[in-house]
């Protein structure tokens, strides 16, 4: 049996992934802060075919709770996969007004997940699992609209690449996922969104990437080309752009 630990389980993308793996017959452990919401998704997953689905508490800013997650996973049998959907993105203007907010952004999007993954890595190695790290195209280049968040996601992507290097040696794996704009509560009603993808599409792309042991994916795929262009704009020009 395969068990998925899904962190940030209340996000629309996480919910879509949880449902997709549940209907394949995998077990899911949903971790996050909104216990009531996670319990609802867990029940839904059970009725869609998950042999086991439960909710556990997880706060990226509170590492004291991390060992309990490890213990819970150790009590399962079979493959252990970990999918990380956590992150927070207050508007850059709010951050500029209150720089202390940056600590939270970094903790949610980078240091919290990374500390947890480092704790879980030996188990993932032993159980030949896959880590799915959901970053963002925002991490590919610092842009005026969200560069604190982008910096955290860039750090996360670098960590993921190192983790992949480590896990590969043990026959385990790590996939870095970079979604473009996804139709979730985070993007709902925000100006300037285009080519917005449904969360189910992202979940399907993730599962395909896990199955094929892909290293880095953009989802939907065309973001690879959009970001290729954005990354190659010379800094001298990019610094004047507002993309």
């Amino acid at each position: 049996m395969t068990t998925w630990l899904i962190l940030g389980g209340s996000s629309a993308m996480a919910r879509a992934l949880a449902r997709a793996v549940a209907s394949r017959g995998d077990a899911v452990i949903l971790a996050g802060r909104d216990a009531g919401d996670l319990a609802a998704t867990a029940t839904d997953c059970r009725l869609r075919g998950a042999p086991l689905a439960e909710a556990v508490a997880f706060d990226a800013r509170d590492p004291a709770g991390f060992p309990a997650l490890l213990a819970r996973l150790e009590a399962t049998e079979g493959t252990v996969n970990v999918a990380i959907f956590v992150g927070s993105m207050p508007p850059q203007a709010e951050i500029d007004a209150d720089p202390a907010l940056i600590d939270g952004v970094i903790a949610d999007s980078f240091t919290g997940p990374v500390r947890l993954l480092t704790l879980l890595a030996p188990l993932v190695e032993a159980r030949k699992g896959t880590v799915v790290g959901v970053g963002s195209v925002a991490g590919d280049r610092g842009r005026i609209g969200n560069y604190a968040y982008g910096a955290a996601k860039a750090g996360f992507a670098t960590y993921m690449s190192g983790l992949r290097n480590r896990l590969t040696r043990a026959g385990a794996h790590a996939v870095t996922v970079k979604p473009g704009f996804v139709d979730t509560a985070m993007t709902w009603g925000i100006e300037g969104m285009f080519l917005v993808a449904p969360p189910e599409r992202v979940a399907a792309d993730i599962l395909k990437a896990v199955g094929k042991r892909r290293d880095v994916i953009y989802t939907p795929f065309f973001w690879r080309y959009i970001m290729l262009i954005i990354r190659h704009v010379p800094e001298r020009i990019f610094k004047k752009m507002s993309v």
Binding site: S10, A12, R15, D34, G36, D37, A40, T41, T43, D44, L47, R48, T184, A185, W188, G189, I190
Partner: protein, 437 residues
Amino acid sequence: MQTRRLDLTGWGRVLRATSDVARPERFSTLARAMEEAPAPAMGQRRSYGDAPLNDKGRALDMTRLDRILGFDEEAGILTVEGGARIGELNALLAPRGWLLPVLPGTGFATVGGAVAMDVHGKNHHHAGSFGQHLAGIRLLTPKGEKRAGPDKQKDLFRATLGGLGQTGVVASAEIRLLKAKGSVMMVTEHRIRDWDEHIAALDTSEATYSVGWIDATATGAGLGRGILEEGETGAGLVPPAKRGRKVPIDAPGAALSPPVVRLFNAAYWRRVPMRGRTVVKPIEDFFFPLDRIYDWNRLYGKRGFHQFQCVVPLGQRDRLRDILETVAQSGAASPLAVLKRMGPGRAGMMSFPMEGYTLAVDLRAAPGPESLVARLEGMVRDAEGRIYLAKDSLGSAEAIQAMYPERKAWAKIVAKHDPEGALATDLVRRLKLRETE
């Protein structure tokens, strides 16, 4: 809560609205939205007219709250969020031997929409309406959360079933399921030559599910010509359903022009051999035949279309024949009309069903069917019948109010729970349904 300004239509795409829409993904955000700025709920907008619309106002899109919250296999009670789609629930339940007790003609309808319209299915003559199978609902009213059910908050419950979303947002519902024999349908199809034969066939049918498809373009001796479908659930194997198709663009106005429609209808009819036939179909193909073309409403082109559905008491079948004749002669009718026998079952004060016969017809929006619908409305009223608000877009306040005798009592209960009128929709305003004098 973050909102998004959207241009919206009902399924018929004639009536339009621009609204600021919030789309909560969790119960807690839904509850907060109802506290901060109560607004009418929207499901999948499969109602044809303006029932789910709130022009220049706010709306709550419920489609992200679509989870199963519990299943008591012993009691056969399923608890689901209001935004869950009927068809998806059906696909999950059927392989386990369960069936939703009432299935409307589209699987895209949400549980909340099914509650708010107290929808009926092809088994209405046996099983009654959707609301009659509810063990309870969790409702967020502008004045707070309420639990209602057959023995709890009975007035509120009766005002909510078929209540057009006016008492609050249905966050979740507990539905009593039926046992199914398996995940396929055994469907018997008979050719029906005319109106009298159609009525007689519906009257004598002993099937659990039955529906008459009428060629609403046939006039004269062929009036009421069509196919009677009878269905029972069964176990067996059928080839996997083909993937749904999409209509790529708005069809040019001619796609459903009268000659095309007549040809289509004749072909549909001839498909069934003279002696009739029995076929095995996937459940969804029997209940949701139109869903296989994902956005078939676009076949009517940019201008959209109207649907007209009425029910008349058993004794008024001749008047219903006149109604069909008026439609057929107008030349405005579309490919498929539906004739069903209804039982007396209805769960709420504003529910549509009454014991009798119900007829549903699509009408092209151009040239304007306003005068035709006005005439039909009068005929329905004379027949002591009723027009279905899930389909209506052209009805007039006076006539419609006369068809819903409990309306005023309903409006008073609604006013208690939504005194500011925050949940009023375009339909409710157009038909002045919430007036209490």
